[in-house]
């Protein structure tokens, strides 16, 4: 065991430049490498990606990583390339036919393959992977398996069949947030024996993030408060909200109202501009990102000093994920949620599905009615119908989903309306009753007189961007060449 740890440490230092493990990493790596199916629940910033990057370098065969978002996949591919790992590819629906064929015919040249559940279960993909030695199968953001609502991806339910087909040598499930019940659900849905899966669970507590909620009278007051906050807090922050158009408008407004360099980031932004925004933010030439939940998974910027929620997220899981992007350098950071009465209606409305009656669903099932009447829910509902459910059963499933979602929003609201300690409220949800905290740096309820200046947030150096429109100097600096005159 000691010898194996020494080997792991040596590779970690040589390839990735790290000297020490973060909490939970060593235990997860050891269990995974010895072939035990492992579920690791490690908070954001705990270094989850290393848990498959490292085995990928050490083991023969292919590491397959299931990832929910295309942007996250691309980000992970980029990060591996950044550390000199070029035998890596992503396979997903954004690739054209030529690109997909290229990846499938070069699997034996790869060490890492990132894909989505939807792509994985395609027969030609499963066939191609079946011919490979899969040294490690990773399900990243594994809480998606247990997720409910319109964002639910039914193909996650078919991962158990894919595992049976592919027979990987090792299995690792990763998530940042999973209550004990969600952990059980993940294991069950993958068809695994609950007693044979090792669990590595670290606290979701991030003591260096000060938690605060501010109640505002109306949306106008909320925007004014946001303006005050970002003006005071300056560079290296994220503002989250739920709509793309809202993100565009807020970013444009903050660009006008402040001297900060602000960009909107959401799934509607062109991929190349998403790359630019991520890189500008990482390198400090962009001060603030106004984003939907599309921004953040995989953003490895250690000195994000603050996260402001302009709207209430759908659940405490989502909130913990999003605020967890702040303060990865373990230095003081701040998470503020701005709340107006009735804000909880937004996550409720966003996730609402208007299903037709059970009779109509039965007609859709037998092809007498088109599924276009289902709108955005067509994919999820059709999945259940094709899996053999009746219209009535589907209606019941969705009624339960609705109930569960309303419960999650209600639980989020209880955090907003908490009057004791926000950290305690949050950790209790994840099953943690005890924790150490300093009242001064814990939350706005334990330190009601807090002001931003007292938190001593470490200053972040603002970097100057190159002049944008002087093409001559840009070419000279890009190619390290003197001007041609």
């Amino acid at each position: 065991m000691t010898e194996q740890i020494e080997q792991i440490r040596a590779v970690m230092k040589r390839v990735f430049g790290f000297d020490d493990f973060r909490p939970g990493q060593e235990e997860t790596l050891l269990k995974t490498m010895t072939g035990q199916p492992t579920l690791a629940v490690l908070p954001t910033g705990a270094g989850k990606t290393l848990l498959y990057q490292l085995p990928g370098v050490m083991l023969d065969g292919l590491v397959v990583i299931i990832t929910p978002l295309i942007s996250l996949m691309q980000d992970q591919v980029d990060r591996l390339r950044n550390v000199g790992q070029s035998r890596v590819a992503a396979l997903n629906s954004s690739l054209d036919y030529q690109e997909q064929r290229w990846v499938l015919s070069h699997l034996s040249d790869l060490d890492f393959l990132f894909t989505s559940p939807e792509t994985l279960i395609k027969p030609d993909v499963l066939r191609a992977l079946h011919n490979q030695t899969i040294s490690l199968f990773v399900i990243d953001e594994a809480h998606c398996i247990s997720q409910w609502g319109p964002d639910f991806r039914p193909e996650y339910l078919l991962l158990n069949q894919a595992l049976t087909t592919l027979k990987p040598q090792r299995l690792l499930m990763l998530t940042a947030t999973a209550t004990p019940a969600v952990q059980d659900d993940i294991i069950n849905r993958l068809g695994l024996n609950i007693n044979q899966v090792s669990r590595v669970v670290e606290s979701v507590n991030r003591p260096n993030i000060f938690l605060a909620v501010q109640h505002l009278d109306n949306q106008d007051a909320k925007r004014r408060r946001l303006l005050e906050l970002v003006t005071k807090l300056g560079t290296s922050g994220i503002v989250y909200l739920s709509s793309r158009e809202g993100a565009n408008q807020l970013a444009a407004w903050l660009n006008e109202q402040t001297s900060l360099r602000v960009a909107a980031y959401h799934a509607g932004v062109a991929p190349i501009d998403r790359y630019r925004i991520q890189q500008q933010f990482l390198t400090g030439t962009l001060d603030l990102v106004v984003a939907t939940s599309a921004f953040g998974m995989g953003i490895d910027k250690s000195d994000i000093r603050y996260v402001i929620h302009f709207q209430m997220p759908v659940s405490l899981e989502a909130y913990v994920q999003e605020i967890g992007r702040a303060g990865r350098d373990s230095r003081q950071a701040l998470a503020i949620l701005l709340y107006c009465r009735g804000d909880e209606q937004i996550p409720l409305l966003l996730g609402k599905i208007d299903l037709p009656s059970a009779e109509i669903l039965d007609q859709i099932k037998v092809g007498k009615t088109t599924d276009t009447i289902l709108g955005d829910a067509a994919h999820v509902v059709s999945f259940y119908l094709t899996q053999g459910m009746s219209g009535r059963e589907v209606v019941n499933v969705f009624a339960k989903l609705e109930e569960k979602r309303a419960g999650q929003v209600q639980r989020m609201l209880s955090y907003v309306q908490e009057d004791g300690c926000r950290r305690q409220n949050l950790l209790a949800y994840f099953g943690q009753r005890e924790f150490l905290s300093d009242k001064f740096t814990c939350c706005d309820l334990t330190n009601p007189d807090w002001v931003v200046a007292d938190l001593d947030l470490p200053p972040v150096q603002k970097k100057v961007s190159l002049p944008v429109l002087d093409w001559r100097s840009r070419l000279e600096s890009l190619f390290a060449q003197p001007g041609l005159g």
Binding site: N82, W102, E256, Y275, R276, D470, R474, L475
Partner: protein, 364 residues
């Protein structure tokens, strides 16, 4: 800024009164009715023979493929909006500008960026060209600074592999030759419009720069995002044109992405056979393609490559005189009339359409 009711106003556009990308569509209409689907399909690069023909008649062929990802519902929504604003009238699948619409169209043409390289949209996909050039320039720039740790622009493994192979083949001194070729191309573009090299220069990715987003560039150029997108697309097309005309490493990099002809590969094969003297029927038999497909290829070639051959040889003796006597006035107003019962109706229509094309080009 705070409105009188206390609600904060957001500026939706960077520049007030600026041009949204879709505002530009108004320029494609005129006071004479035009077929709505022709314009939609031209923008989306769905090019049937009829679309190519009517785009030529309307004089809007340069707008080809300028909105590849256009959704039907967005286009319909835009049409409805123009109708409600009193700029456009829709009638039986066609639409035409009102006097107010015509005034607006003229204002767009006068006050906003007008593409110079649109016709190259037939031969170059500017998105793909831009991606490959951006990555090629990025890897060259990082190489020039001896930096190995950076995130390459992720444009897909196939394309990345093409750039990698190019870099290996180009070898030592690549930074100097790429720099010189970029300089030369940008100087040339500058003579067309100084904003073109400014825009492309701002977008470049490389050592210690990630380039500007479209929004950031729009603010720098003091244009709306829509107008900036039109200018950027034109700049990439212009870059593609210049790279086809000058030798250098970047020309080698993008050569496989630039078609030598505006015709599809299949239509080019048909034309090669036709130039060897084969008849449409013979080509159809040899290539195992429907005769109607071969005829479409020939019509497209007559529109897009009119000078490669004399298309008049397709007409039977005496038919040109007969057509000239029957069809007069603006070609778009002609109605096909079958008068040759001995001839296959499809062939007669083919000859009628070819005659329309040739007459249209003569009047130009």
């Amino acid at each position: 800024m705070v409105a009188s009711d206390g609600a904060l106003l957001y500026s939706k556009e960077v520049v007030k009164g600026g041009l949204e990308m879709n505002d530009y569509w108004l320029v494609l209409f005129d006071q004479q009715p035009r077929r709505i689907r022709v314009i939609e399909n031209l923008l989306k690069n769905r090019l049937s023979e009829a679309t190519i023909f009517w785009a030529m008649v309307y004089g809007i062929s340069d707008a080809v493929a300028s909105q590849r990802h256009l959704q039907r519902r967005d286009f319909e929504g835009w049409l409805k909006h123009q109708e409600q604003a009193g700029l456009l009238i829709k009638k039986e699948g066609q639409a035409y500008l009102t006097p107010a619409g015509l005034v607006k169209k003229r204002a767009y043409l006068m006050n906003h960026y007008r593409p110079h390289f649109g016709r190259w949209g037939w031969q170059i996909n500017p998105e793909r060209l831009a991606n490959r050039l951006l990555l090629g320039i990025q890897v060259t720039s990082e190489f020039a600074h001896h930096n190995r740790h950076y995130r390459p622009l992720n444009i897909g493994n196939y394309e990345m592999n093409a750039v990698k192979q190019w870099l290996i083949r180009t070898g030592r001194g690549v930074q100097r030759t790429v720099f010189e070729q970029m300089n030369q191309a940008f100087y040339t573009l500058e003579r067309t419009d100084p904003r073109l090299p400014k825009a492309l220069g701002a977008l470049l990715i490389g050592y210690q720069t990630n380039g500007a987003t479209l929004d950031q560039l729009a603010r720098q150029l003091e244009l709306s995002q829509g107008e900036t997108a039109i200018l950027v697309r034109d700049a990439w097309l212009g870059m593609g044109v210049l790279l086809t005309e000058t030798p250098g490493p970047l020309s080698t990099l993008v050569a496989p992405l630039i078609s030598q002809s505006p015709l599809s590969a299949s239509a080019q094969q048909t034309m090669a056979d036709f130039l060897r003297g084969m008849s449409p029927e013979q080509i159809s038999n040899r290539r195992h393609r429907k005769l109607s497909t071969i005829r479409d290829h020939l019509l497209n070639a007559a529109i897009l490559t009119p000078t490669v051959t004399n298309f008049y040889r397709l007409f039977p003796a005496g038919m040109l005189n007969e057509l000239g006597a029957r069809y007069q006035g603006p070609v778009e107003e002609w109605s096909f009339l079958a008068t040759h019962p001995e001839m296959d109706l499809n062939q007669e229509f083919f000859l009628f359409r070819l005659y329309q094309i040739l007459r249209c080009q003569e009047s130009d």
